[in-house]
Symmetry: C3
Subunit: 308 residues, 3 copies
């Protein structure tokens, strides 16, 4: 398996072996960070971190990865100051920046935008999120977190709760975990925000039992509960939102009634869907999950630049 020069655009077309290789290198990077906080693995590389749509958390995670590998970053943190704002195409932006750097990390709002850039240039492009499209580094850090927290990716009962209709993160995770033969998926959401039927059907076709429910108590019987935020703006009826919101808040009391040792994940930022008294429980994996993103992104940078 050779990732050198490859683009990382989506997890959907990755084989199980490719995913496992990325997670193996991520663990190597986590180990590297313990012994050498800043390595010189990519000391001769410059990486463009182009956030044409703002996302501080993901940007800082990528920049940390770049810097802990000893590489240099040139950064766009804000869409409004970019050439794209002057009417330049994404392909032209990529072709220009190709002359500056060894790898492009890009986040922008257009579905397929990262692929357009990857197709235009010879250097590797890593998709840092393309609107409602793909966000492969999030999916991979979710898998890496599950692997670390549970010791395995195989045969798990995994629940997802919150906004499953619009949540790109949970869609990607559902597909990315599928090759690891989950024991069951529990999709826990209000009716209006349930997992799209074609995804549920896809999973059933793969032989994965799926439970569709609105009860967080049921979701808490899984090995892993992946929480997401229910956004007010998804509801036309505010009263409906207010009514539902309360049923999808995870408190310490609820967690303690759930399966012993259940792993609680969340892509962050959280607003109030997990109360802060959950944070101190060993089950609360969401900040560790955010930290794991650095190792996974280090792995991808090292892999596509042929240094892993």
């Amino acid at each position: 398996m050779n990732f050198e020069g490859k683009d990382i655009l989506s997890t959907e077309n990755m084989t199980k072996e490719e995913i496992l290789e990325i997670l193996r290198v991520s663990a190597k990077m986590e180990e590297l960070c313990k012994t050498r906080h800043v390595s010189d693995l990519l000391a001769d590389k410059v990486v463009a971190v182009l956030f044409l749509e703002p996302s501080t958390r993901t940007r800082l995670s990528f920049e940390t990865a770049v810097k802990r590998l000893g590489a240099k970053a040139i950064t766009v943190a804000d869409a409004k100051t970019s050439s794209t704002a002057k009417g330049e195409t994404l392909a032209d932006t990529a072709l220009t920046v190709e002359g500056y750097v060894d790898c492009i990390v890009v986040r922008q709002p257009q579905i397929g935008g990262a692929k357009v850039m990857a197709d235009a240039v010879k250097i590797p492009v890593i998709n840092g999120g393309d609107g409602a499209g793909q966000h492969p580094t999030q999916a991979l850090l979710d898998l890496y977190t599950i692997l670390k927290e549970r010791g395995t990716l195989e045969g798990l009962k995994v629940a997802m709760a919150g906004d499953l209709k619009y949540g790109r993160t949970v869609h990607s995770l559902t597909y990315a975990l599928a090759p690891f033969t989950p024991k069951e998926y529990i999709f826990c959401a209000p009716d209006a925000l349930q997992m799209p039927e074609h995804i549920v059907a896809d999973m059933k076709k793969k032989g994965i039992p799926c439970k569709v429910t609105a009860s967080v108590e049921e979701a808490l019987q899984a090995d892993v509960l992946y929480m997401t935020r229910i956004q007010k703006e998804r509801f036309s009826d505010v009263a409906e939102y207010e009514k539902l919101k309360g049923s999808f808040i995870l408190s310490r009391q609820l967690v303690e009634k759930g399966k012993k040792g259940i792993t609680i994940m969340h892509p962050l930022p959280r607003v109030d869907e997990i109360t802060t008294d959950v944070d101190e429980l060993p089950n609360a994996a969401y900040f560790r999950q955010a930290h794991n993103g650095v190792f996974v992104r280090m792995a991808l940078l090292a892999l596509v630049m042929g240094r892993a």
Copy 2:
């Protein structure tokens, strides 16, 4: 005295010994910069420079300090692109970033916000200004400048002029200098913008003679004159502002009528409260004062990361 792992939130709870230790290390850093412009003292460290409220001058000073120590910076320069803007709490921001970096520098508009972040995480947090609250690195660079310009912090006659009512900088300096037994404080401001009475009372309780005046000529009889800007927006009556403004402009002519060798300071940016013909006088310490900020911030970074 060991600063390793400590937060720098305020100068108010610092002992005289702690302040002197920081100034001693600042001098060491200034020396280091002369021999090695960029050192490798913190070459294995990554620092988050989170300016959730913009302040270019302070941000660039901190980033210079980070880089002259050989450390890497990940930066937020603008509030609008931050996760906080999405409703995340400061504690959650800190808990996330804790997994990326070895130290957090933060500026944000909420009084006590830096402390909230420091309480949430195990890594050191340096307060780069929390609204109307504390701005300890400014107070320390002011002390360092006085020490360098006058040769001592002890027994000085120190005047402060301009907006003493709302000026966070002059409040902090008043308290920070107090342990060094000033010979006298001269508070020079229009009545509406005078030093708050409780601060004057506090100083008198400590046995420091305080003169309250509206005459810049009197202020110019001190060893050090610390100028600040009178902001138009503090006045409900524009005519009142226009009338007063002129009396608080420092010209070369005025300085030359003042005490020989008086040190003129200003936290910058200045607008027109010091005329540019003052700049060439040896008394004008304000640009040296800005430059000193780099050494003081280097000292704090090195101290809290256990490398001073």
Copy 3:
């Protein structure tokens, strides 16, 4: 010839020898980048990259140059967060930043602004574009590109097309190439956007034949065709714009009817004035031109800091 400590404010007052020296060092930098992607030539330097007016392309090019030389950058990417926005003068900004860094790169909208800053400080200042004024690094990278693409700067027939009235880039190029005895200048634009008469007169005075035309076909008979964008906002009559626009679009078909081996340049970003099917032609030099900017900027940074 010694550039150490000098400012780079304009190409207009540069001698032919100075320009050739900069291009010679640019070639050296291009060679350096091939053998050592990131060198340590300026490893002990910190450079301020102050973009008080946004220009992502130029900023990223400068930052790449800084980082490929091993120097550190402190960056302002956005005017709104800068001290200048608080009413500080450019001279004061320069005097403050002088205490942080070894060199200032500045882009800002005020004609002569870079010179104001250069006059205020002792460290070298490089003008990254001052509004409708000068943009010397663009002119130098244009010359470097012509030299590389054509093997010489001497005796060329050079056409410029598009908006020649307001185009700062083509004005600078016209003057910068003049000492290299061009065989002919072809100025190709709609009447309303033609090259200012005083510039044409200046060139004629230097003995350079000038053809003024509105025909792109004629322009395509040159050795080099420098395209620029015609901006809608230059026209009071939108219908007039729509009518003209079409005549100044360069397609593959047009290029293939032009002089064999003609070099096509463009300062970028392009919108639709060159169709993308031109990109694959060996004549299309515009992305190479953008990439050359890094080497030219590396050369200037190394020269003014005495390390070339």
